[in-house]
Symmetry: D2
Subunit: 137 residues, 4 copies
């Protein structure tokens, strides 16, 4: 698995008075992308939390290339770009469906936390799933 794509319809609530999608919403789209990426790895995030494995964002970066608008159908492309001992990095690209033009692109680094919300190493079940998916880490 190289990447996962999901489709998101822009909600009216996500627009602002400039007529564009408000800029913080792209981070929400990124999160939706990585949730589906993890599900495709066989690691539904809701299950991870039940096992006291939390992934908390420690860094985000986004470039806004071209505005998205109400009712647009967006494709969120997500891939896991790096896995370290206690953190993972995901990358994202957002386009309108059937268009090559980039709307936004970005990345997030997530740290692995335990039930006390303290840093812990990435558990083996995640490492194994990621390796099985073909990522060189």
């Amino acid at each position: 698995m190289k990447h996962v794509e999901i489709t998101v319809r822009v909600r009216y609530q996500e627009t602002d008075q400039m007529g564009f999608v408000y800029y913080s919403n792209y981070l929400v789209y990124f999160e939706m992308g990585r949730i589906e990426y993890l599900r495709n790895l066989g690691l539904p995030y809701s299950e991870l939390e039940k096992e006291s494995i939390f992934l908390a964002v420690v860094e985000s970066h986004c470039k806004y290339r071209s505005p998205a608008r109400f009712d647009d159908l967006l494709i969120i492309k997500t891939w896991l770009s790096k896995m370290k001992n206690a953190s993972v990095e995901f990358c994202y690209e957002i386009r309108r469906r059937d268009e090559e033009n980039l709307i936004a692109e970005g990345s997030t680094i997530l740290a692995c936390l335990d039930e006390n919300r303290r840093p812990r190493t990435i558990p083996d079940k995640i490492k194994t799933a990621v390796k099985g998916s073909g990522l060189n880490t």
Copy 2:
């Protein structure tokens, strides 16, 4: 204490492409109003949750009289209108500062839950604080 008033500056994020505050945000303003009402009763909601007393909204109602806009300074007026055995009702009015005109008005009913998120009776400390504030219940 008859009511509590707080001031909220409308955020750009809260507007939509119609140029108004998006309608679900008024429920967020209502919540901010009741949090400050509780604090004024000597019952900071963050403390209540630490004692496993949760207040969960079971009903909301809002009439949108006139639109609020970006950067408006809104006054959220909140009062406790009813207290039953296991629930409380709050009422709200929203105006622009220094204007009589109503922007929105509404109410919410909240049920009291325990640490397992199951219904429980309103704890005595809340009943006592409310009675001390002069509300006939």
Copy 3:
């Protein structure tokens, strides 16, 4: 057309520290439901706004029956319940997929506005589409 159903996956962003979907988000789900209802009537809301037909919520009501949680797949059932000269009413029911249990139910009344955001009568194209769909108004 009696009603329209859409499926929404609960986002992590929509949860709160109580572990439930925060209560204002149901109004966002309602909006998504009516946008798809209008699209099914042949009236994409994005097109209506381009023709200077705005539908602004003037009243909302919601009963929260049972909490929704992160990653739940929710069905939003929407129908047009009333059409007056200058306003329409939509009703909504939210359930988890494959469950009978109600999560939330509610209604919204929307007023029709013109390009100056002033009240106007419901345009004939909407009336005709609604009548063609079998609603007695």
Copy 4:
């Protein structure tokens, strides 16, 4: 003017089920900081938009150092770090009131747009206000 500080009370709506402020909300706090920075420069953003001067975020970056929680009083420190021909950069630091510990820090680059949402140079009134405030650009 070197920087502007505003105080923001964390809303219940901004928390997620991990018990922290959801990560996209920091970008909303950043926006609130730069709105007040501009107001302090004598440039209320609502006035700029009326003169068809729009500032749209083209890049954002945030490091999440330590989680913020419900009801925290946060200080958002904002300063203008760069001004180019057609864009400006703001930097931000977020701390809990009366604490040195960083909660989050980041930056945003904003492009100046005209009434057709096309890039334009920064207008003189902004350049003059910024220079008067002591920023070397």
